[in-house]
């Protein structure tokens, strides 16, 4: 596996927030989920995932709590905060505008 499919700068935050909007998950599950939903196209490297999770936590958009995982081991579960939900909305809108615009340009030529 070469470099991970380059995520557009800043979209990782959006993906994480979106993934967490359904239910709280731990880091591994978040990465897995993104990978599955994207049809194995988007590979989230640990090197990007954990710094991003910690950054979002520091920002107050997600919160973490330690709970038992499906295997019975203690794991750190992340979930959206109210502020995170708002952030997700604004980032989604932003993304829609951006990707729509890019599409227009790409299809025109």
């Amino acid at each position: 596996m070469g470099k991970p499919s380059d995520l557009v700068q800043g979209t990782l935050d959006l993906l994480i927030l979106k993934t967490l909007s359904i239910e709280g998950r731990h880091g591994w599950a978040i990465a897995k989920r993104i990978q599955q939903i994207s049809g194995e196209v988007l590979q989230v490297q640990q090197g990007s995932l954990y710094p991003a999770l910690h950054r979002l936590e520091q920002q107050g958009w997600i919160k973490a709590k330690w709970a038992e995982s499906e295997t019975g081991r203690q794991a750190k579960f992340y979930s959206l905060t109210a502020a995170g939900r708002k952030q997700l909305d604004s980032e989604t809108t932003h993304w829609a505008r951006l990707s729509g615009a890019i599409n227009l340009v790409v299809q025109e030529s």
């Binding site: 596996m1 731990h26 880091g27 591994w28 490297q45 640990q46 090197g47 954990y50 710094p51 999770l53 910690h54 950054r55 936590e57 520091q58 920002q59 107050g60 330690w66 995982s69 295997t71 081991r73 203690q74 794991a75 750190k76 905060t81 502020a83």
Partner: protein, 885 residues
């Protein structure tokens, strides 16, 4: 709300940093386990699953660091880690650390102490409102011969009436009053100021209790009033506000206390005890003369008026006055100085020179520590290389080193601050002649300065060695086999350069100290023309009220001299107004009756001394011609004067001075206006030790017009033992009299050279310290080189090199930086010599003796410092040296 959350998160992070680190570790471990489990379920063996997971995971340490990077306190965390690491490293080498902290403490301490003095004395504004508009006014000479003459009363009146550049103008004059004792207290001689009533308004000072002078108080016919300084009020009147309206006796005359000045007010100096109104105290005649210069003028410029404009205006007025009075000592120009500058300009060169010297000392200390750190960096090359190879970034490594040296300099600086505090206490005690000494203390600005100095020192000492290693070397270090026969050349070269600089600075300090020391010994060995050993002096000031006729004054002093002469141990006793070496006190214009009238505008001027018949014998000033005063030439019969050699040289060259007559209208001797006969010529004495002889006229003291005088006792025993009996003799005649300044002649001369002695001593101390530091540096570098080249030396010896040869080789290695430093230093010293030329006396800035002695001292020190390591190198046993590697 979000900011609250963020704040909470950050707070949590700050407190639970340790737990958060563990949790992160745990979280990543969980991820890894999940991956392994997934791989296993995909059919891999346990071992293969683990390895694949680890491979995909990347460097766990880096990952951890990246995650931690997003935490709020990460920078602080790293910094604290570095500080902890630095402290641990320093504690592991206590010898080095203690030495470095001491060196740094000494450098910073000296620097901070001098900064405090410069800041408090030269820079800190006087505590007056809009003090930038306050100035001192002087009469001056348009040809530039005299710039800072004090004002005559008439001149002040003219300026005050005519000048438009000023908001106000006031005068003051220092004087001593005999403050009579009351309620069982002893009488004392109180330093006081007579001032025009508006001086406090002008300075913007109000009374703390009572009121300041009004214009009504400042008239000849007003009721006598006095204002007390805070210190006197507390000390003598118990700080009782009821003192207002009470009467105190000054010179046996009653004065009403009208006010007390605030505690912070210490202008012009903290010794002033009280103030009286000058126009009440001095006759209208004196206050309107243009020839009697004795007033200090203070003025406040109008907003927007520059000093140049004001000077131009005063010059015009003063030129006009000169045209009006073409004869007599009337100046023809004016000079203005900012008030602070006027107080301290004489000290500037000395203080700035000392400050610069401490700067040099500090730089030397920094270089020394940088040098030691380079040596340490060299021994830690392997450690550095390994850390770099493991992924430590260069910036991080440099930061570590710099933080280590900042830790050193902070420790040193704290020590230095304590050291400076002690040094300042000593300095204020030792140099009571410094104006504003009472304002010298460590304040916020000084602490800020100290912190700045610490930071700069840490950076300088840390960056030099840190930047000297680069990435390319690191690889080489790792590849280098342990059998390296020539040590790292780069570090050695850098250390040599540092040493050269250090030696150069030391040479500059040594040379300056040498020049000042020579100046001082020159000053102390000046023969001022009179007895200086075993001479005790004390000042007596008879109060105006009870000694109101010449007869009373003469009777008192004759009685006093007679009684003191009876004391055992007294060899000769006399009274006079001024002693040699006390500085210039008074001069008066005169004419010589036998000479034709001088052209208009020209005057003769000589210093005015009053002496009794025994003065010349007691002071051992030889009589060259004629005779001395005689005992019966007193009161109305005193119409003779004695002059000194320089007087004859200047005014009566080639003539017989005896029998000539001097007319000096302003001198208070009965027949001074018709002519006083010159009856004797005595040898020259010096008014200032650093000055040339000036013409002096000795008027008869027993004419009885001088109430203040100095009693001189030449003793057969230690002069200080005579102080008490003499004071008892004075009290025996008049118990109400106060005596001031009981000093030996040696002390008087010591006071006049205190500045020179202080500068020389201090600079010498700095120079010696830096010499020691340079020697330590040389010793260290050469020892290091020897240790580095042990194997090489062993091979040389094994191959047949002679031991003296080896020693010469190593000596040359060590002396090379010393020599280049010496040359560098000598060049710089010649420039510095020019800068401090104004501080030198009887010594040329390029004094060859000083340069030779300095060079010799430095070379000998350098050779001594290098001898031991070089000798050790030559004693090296080739077998052990070769086996050791």
């Amino acid at each position: 709300m979000r900011w609250l959350h963020k704040f909470f998160m950050q707070w949590q992070m700050l407190i639970h940093r340790g737990r958060a680190g563990k949790q992160l570790q745990d979280e990543l471990q969980f991820h890894l386990e999940q991956q392994i489990a997934e791989n296993e379920s995909a059919g891999m063996s346990r071992e293969a699953a683990r390895r694949a997971a680890l491979r995909g995971f990347g460097n766990p340490a880096t990952l951890r660091d990246q995650a931690r990077d997003t935490w709020s306190w990460h920078g602080l965390e790293l910094f604290l880690g570095d500080v902890r690491f630095g402290i641990r490293t320093l504690v592991r080498t206590p010898g080095f650390s203690v030495l470095a902290i001491l060196v740094m403490g000494l450098g910073i301490g000296a620097n901070v102490a001098l900064f405090t003095v410069v800041h408090s004395v030269l820079l800190k504004p006087l505590p007056f409102k809009n003090q930038d508009r306050l100035v001192r006014l002087y009469e001056a000479d348009s040809k530039g011969a005299m710039q800072d003459n004090v004002l005559a009363g008439g001149t002040f009146a003219s300026w005050q009436a005519q000048a438009r550049s000023f908001e106000g103008m006031a005068v003051k004059k220092g004087i001593d009053y005999n403050l009579s004792g009351s309620g069982g207290q002893l009488p004392e001689l109180a330093h006081a100021q007579q001032a025009s009533w508006n001086i406090f308004q002008l300075l913007g000072v109000d009374a703390a209790v009572g009121r300041v002078f009004l214009s009504n108080d400042d008239r000849r016919d007003a009721n006598p009033t006095v204002i007390l300084n805070w210190g006197l009020w507390k000390r003598r009147f118990g700080g009782d506000p009821a003192v207002i309206g009470k009467t105190i006796l000054l010179d046996a005359r009653p004065f009403t206390v009208i006010g007390v000045l605030p505690a912070w007010f210490s202008y012009p100096d903290p010794n002033v005890q009280l103030w009286t109104p000058i126009y009440h105290e001095r006759s209208p005649q004196v206050m309107s003369m243009h020839t009697a210069h004795n007033l200090d003028a203070v003025a406040r410029l109008k907003p927007g008026v520059t000093i140049d404009q004001a000077t131009a205006e005063l010059n015009t007025i003063q030129r006009q006055i000169r045209r009006q009075f073409p004869n007599g000592p009337v100046n023809d120009a004016a000079n203005i100085r900012p008030i602070l500058d006027a107080e301290v300009f004489r000290l500037k060169t000395g203080l700035y020179a000392m400050f610069a010297a401490t700067g040099c000392l500090l730089l030397i200390a920094c270089l020394n520590i940088a040098n030691l750190l380079v040596a340490r960096a060299a021994t830690r090359r392997k450690e550095t290389a390994v850390r770099t190879a493991l992924g430590g970034s260069r910036a991080r490594l440099i930061r570590g080193q710099v933080i280590e040296s900042i830790v050193l300099s902070v420790a040193g600086g704290s020590l230095g601050l304590a050291f400076a505090q002690t040094a300042l206490l000593w300095l204020v005690h030792a140099r009571q002649d410094i104006p504003r000494a009472d304002s010298i203390h460590i304040d916020g600005i000084v602490v800020l300065f100290t912190m700045g100095v610490m930071l700069v020192c840490g950076l300088v000492a840390g960056l030099i060695p840190a930047l000297s290693s680069n990435d390319k070397q690191i690889l080489r270090t790792l590849q280098e086999s342990s059998r390296s026969y020539s040590g790292a050349k780069g570090g050695v070269r850098l250390r040599r350069v540092l040493l050269g600089l250090q030696v150069g600075l030391t040479v500059v300090l040594l040379t300056s100290a040498g020049l000042l020391l020579k100046t001082y010994t020159r000053l102390r060995s000046v023969d001022i023309g009179c007895a200086t050993h075993d001479v005790l002096t004390m000042e007596i000031n008879l109060p105006k009220g009870s000694y109101n006729t010449p007869a009373k004054i003469v009777t008192f002093y004759e009685q006093l001299v007679d009684r003191v002469r009876q004391l055992p141990g007294a060899r000769a006793v006399a009274v006079g107004t001024i002693l040699p070496g006390e500085g210039h006190q008074r001069d008066d214009v005169f004419t010589i009756r036998e000479h034709p009238a001088l052209p208009k505008g020209q005057v003769l001027d000589a210093s005015t001394y009053f002496a009794d018949p025994g003065y010349f014998n007691a002071m051992q000033i030889p009589l060259l011609q004629g005779r001395l005063f005689e005992a019966d030439e007193r009161l109305d019969r005193s119409s003779e004067v004695i002059v000194n050699q320089d007087f004859v040289r200047q005014f009566l060259k080639g003539e017989n001075p005896l029998g000539k007559h001097i007319k000096a209208e302003l001198v208070e001797v009965a027949e001074a206006d018709t002519g006083l006969e010159i009856v004797g010529v005595v040898a020259d004495t010096l008014e200032n030790v650093s000055g040339a002889p000036v013409p002096i006229v000795y008027y008869p003291f027993y004419s009885g017009t001088q109430r203040s005088a100095t009693l001189v006792i030449r003793t057969t025993t230690a002069p200080s033992g005579m102080a008490l009996p003499a004071q008892q003799a004075i009290a025996g005649i008049d118990p109400g009299l106060a005596v001031a300044n009981v000093l030996t002649m040696d002390q008087i001369l010591g006071q006049s050279t205190i500045g020179a002695s202080f500068d020389a001593t201090l600079l010498l101390a700095f120079a010696v310290i830096s010499l020691v530091l340079a020697a330590v540096g040389l010793f260290g570098v050469l020892s290091y080189i020897v240790a580095q080249r042990k194997a090489e030396i062993g091979i040389r010896i094994a191959l047949g090199a002679q031991r003296p040869q080896v020693m010469r080789l190593m000596l040359r290695d060590g002396l090379q930086p010393a020599l280049s430093g010496l040359v560098l230093g000598l060049i710089a010293a010649t420039a510095v010599g020019q800068l401090i030329r104004s501080m030198l006396y009887g010594t040329r800035a390029l004094d060859p003796a000083v340069y030779v002695v300095v060079s010799a001292t430095l070379l000998i020190t350098a050779i001594l410092a290098c001898a031991l390591p070089a000798w050790r190198a030559s004693r090296l046993d080739p077998m052990t040296a070769l086996r050791m590697e």
